[in-house]
């Protein structure tokens, strides 16, 4: 009788501990999708199976150590084989494993079924930022880290979303099945958002599929989960889930912006306009490699400031930014930046930090190279 009470108290205590661990963020999150709840359920089931096995095995062990100690004159049994016992200790783990594998496989099959999606987003990993492209919608953009340098260097207090904040999150509608097509432009990255229970490798030359259907509007944060170089810890994932009508309005606005950018290609831009735009593009995209003042990190990332060979070769400069340099970390920006951004950033690089060449590169020049 008393033993039952002790056991019941122990179980309630452990269950309380589990809730506590969840609230403190020690445990895996339950998340906001059907799949994430399944995954959390599996995780807890397997965890408790392990706890029970551990409790049984260690109880028997400590009981035997105590009960059959030598000072009480215990004699070790001396036998070599015992087929029945061997069959038992082989069959029991086998059954436990099969029992765990059945629900786990069912969940995995569900996770892998990316068919019949309402919306498709291409997710491309870059060193070191994510690029999102709404398939068939003409909307695509980079998502850059916005944590200020001072917080990273420790001269300023870190805020709650330190290293988990971006300029433009991935925006998704709730209650819709979204297919995510993952790939990479350079090395292997991995797109991971714990609250969605999605973690998928983004591999250059391959397209991996994942999907999610978010139940609650909100902001969900994650990180790149595959060591991908110097700024691996500086390319977070932020997902902003909103109601379908809000999402539609957002998408329409983004399409308008894209159209406005396209019309900007045809007009003539002034140097100050290009410099302003170029500085923004440079700061969010190029500075992680070529450094904020253009000084680079030789020998890997060349300096742009006072780079004579580069400043004398405008054609080469344009070609490098548009087409990248194969076999090096320098990416091609023809698919990810528009003509205005490319023209602006090149103009900026040729006139900033005392590079004063006076060159003005018009977006129309770049456009001609983007769509030959």
């Amino acid at each position: 009788m008393r033993k039952t009470y002790v056991l019941a108290a122990l179980i309630t205590g452990l269950a309380g501990l589990e809730r506590n661990a969840l609230a403190n963020g020690w445990n895996m999150p339950v998340g906001v999708t059907e799949v994430s709840r399944h995954v959390h359920g599996l995780h807890m089931t397997i965890f408790w199976i392990c706890v029970v096995i551990g409790a049984v095995v260690f109880s028997v062990m400590f009981y035997s150590l105590f009960r059959y100690r030598r000072s009480k004159g215990a004699q070790a049994a001396n036998f070599h084989e015992h087929t029945t016992v061997e069959i038992f200790w082989t069959a029991i783990p086998l059954l436990i494993l099969v029992a765990m594998a059945i629900p786990a496989t069912a969940t995995l099959r569900h996770m892998y079924d990316a068919s019949e999606a309402d919306l498709e987003v291409m997710v491309t990993g870059h060193q070191w930022r994510w690029h999102y492209d709404y398939v068939g919608e003409d909307v695509g953009y980079f998502s850059n880290l916005t944590t200020p340098r001072e917080q990273i260097d420790g001269t300023q207090a870190k805020d709650a979303n330190y290293l988990l904040e971006v300029d433009q999150p991935l925006v998704l509608p709730v209650d819709r099945k979204v297919r995510l097509l993952m790939t990479s432009s350079d090395v292997i990255h991995s797109w991971w958002v714990p609250d969605l229970a999605v973690k998928k490798d983004a591999i250059p030359g391959f397209v991996n599929e994942a999907w999610t259907r978010i139940d609650e509007p909100g902001i969900y944060r994650g990180q790149c989960a595959e060591l991908c170089g110097k700024d691996h810890g500086f390319m977070p994932v932020v997902v902003h889930a909103m109601a379908q009508d809000e999402f539609d309005a957002w998408l329409a606005e983004r399409k308008q912006e894209a159209a406005a950018a396209a019309s900007g290609v045809d007009r003539n831009w002034t140097l100050p306009e290009l410099m302003e735009r170029g500085e923004q593009v440079y700061g969010s995209i190029c500075a992680s490699c070529h450094q904020p003042e253009g000084q680079g990190l030789p020998p890997t990332f060349p300096a742009l400031v006072g780079n004579q060979a580069l400043l004398e070769d405008l054609e080469g400069h344009i070609d490098t930014v548009v087409n990248g340099v194969a076999g090096t970390p320098m990416p091609a920006f023809s698919g990810t930046l528009n003509a205005v951004d490319i023209a602006a950033v090149i103009t900026f690089e040729r006139n900033a930090w005392g590079n004063d060449t006076g060159d003005i590169i018009q977006p129309s020049t770049i456009q001609a190279q983007l769509s030959p």
């Binding site: 070599h80 084989e81 087929t83 061997e86 069959i87 082989t90 099959r109």
Partner: protein, 57 residues
């Protein structure tokens, strides 16, 4: 023949009686065990595939 099959299945499971093991290692040819092992391994793979396709329908 049945004895060989039983020994191979015991090896798959990982538990064998010492007496049987002594017997297997002193009598019979290794070739019989190897061939039976290959045939049963293929059968096991087919059985698992079958269960998997049935379960995932």
């Amino acid at each position: 023949m049945w004895g060989v099959v039983k020994s191979v299945l015991a090896a798959f499971f990982g538990v064998q009686k010492e007496r049987q093991r002594q017997h297997d290692f002193s009598e019979g040819k290794p070739v019989a065990f190897i061939m039976t092992g290959i045939v049963l391994a293929v059968a096991l793979v087919i059985a698992i595939l079958l269960v998997a396709t049935l379960a995932s329908r």
